[in-house]
Amino acid sequence: MHELQVATQIIEIVQQEMESRKLAAVSAIGVRVGALSGFNPDALEFSFEAAVADTPLSETRLEIEYIPIRGECRECRHNFESDEMIIACPACGSGQLDISRGDDLEISYIEGG
């Protein structure tokens, strides 16, 4: 359950952004969580709810965008996308894959107001 630490980090970063942008309130925080990030969206949501209690962000929504794994087969150049780890090319069955996306763990936006 290391998502709690991540939730705390998100709150800290957003509060810094609020200060530097002189925002009185933030209604939503957009977060991208990649399928390969090692972090679980449900656990993050749960942790966030616990972590925002008694902070100025207690009414803020967490909007999680789950980023699937994306990659390309080295043999047949087929591009694929999946929510789970792919070990063979869906088109030709080759195991030689280049994974290009899915490591994400970032705050993409905040919504003021």
Binding site: E17, S27, L36, G38, M85, I87, G95, I99, D103, L105
Partner: protein
Amino acid sequence: MSGKIEIKKKVLSENDRIASEIREKLSRNKILTLNLVSSPGSGKTSLLERTLKQLGDKFNMAVIAGDVQTENDAERLARAGGKIVRPLLTGGACHLDARMVNRVLNEIDIDRLDILFIENVGNLVCPAGYDLGEDMKVVLISTTEGDDKPLKYPAMFRRSSVLVVNKIDLLGLSNFDPEKVKKNALAVNPEFIIMDVSCRTHEGLDRWYSWLSGAVNNKREAKMAEPKG
């Protein structure tokens, strides 16, 4: 004021910033830095014990031994001849982060060091997300575990550069298939360097020692590749 404001900031950017500082400091001193990760009981401490004993005359090595509780591993490593062994207790946390490592690193004299081993907390999930400033991650799996672990924990196996398959003296006593684990590991990470060893019988450890020596030389000549992930 209302509306979406783009931020695009990595959640772990503070960790990454400290990790970069560590990496810069250690690289300036040409210290090969390895982050050892695995499930509990795969043999991280045993591999380090063997390495400290075998290469103690050849290299100056330091170990930061991470654990949730107890300094047992650090004591074992000191008994194995480790001259610089520092325990790092996380006090419940499931992984090491760069801030913890930096704190301990500041107490170590790194002047004549060749290798720094960071023994992470036994856990294949949480340590994957935290860069510690290492040159690379070395992941261990033992033959008493499932050979599908690379597929179950792709985040960790993808970010590691070396896979050490330990306890090969026990092959045949479980359903562990060494070929299958290699196939699964290479599927997740085609660049893996894979070694079969037994820390108990020493089988295969020569390859580990010579790989390590080569990596130290590469580091001295600053040919080390950028870290993964």
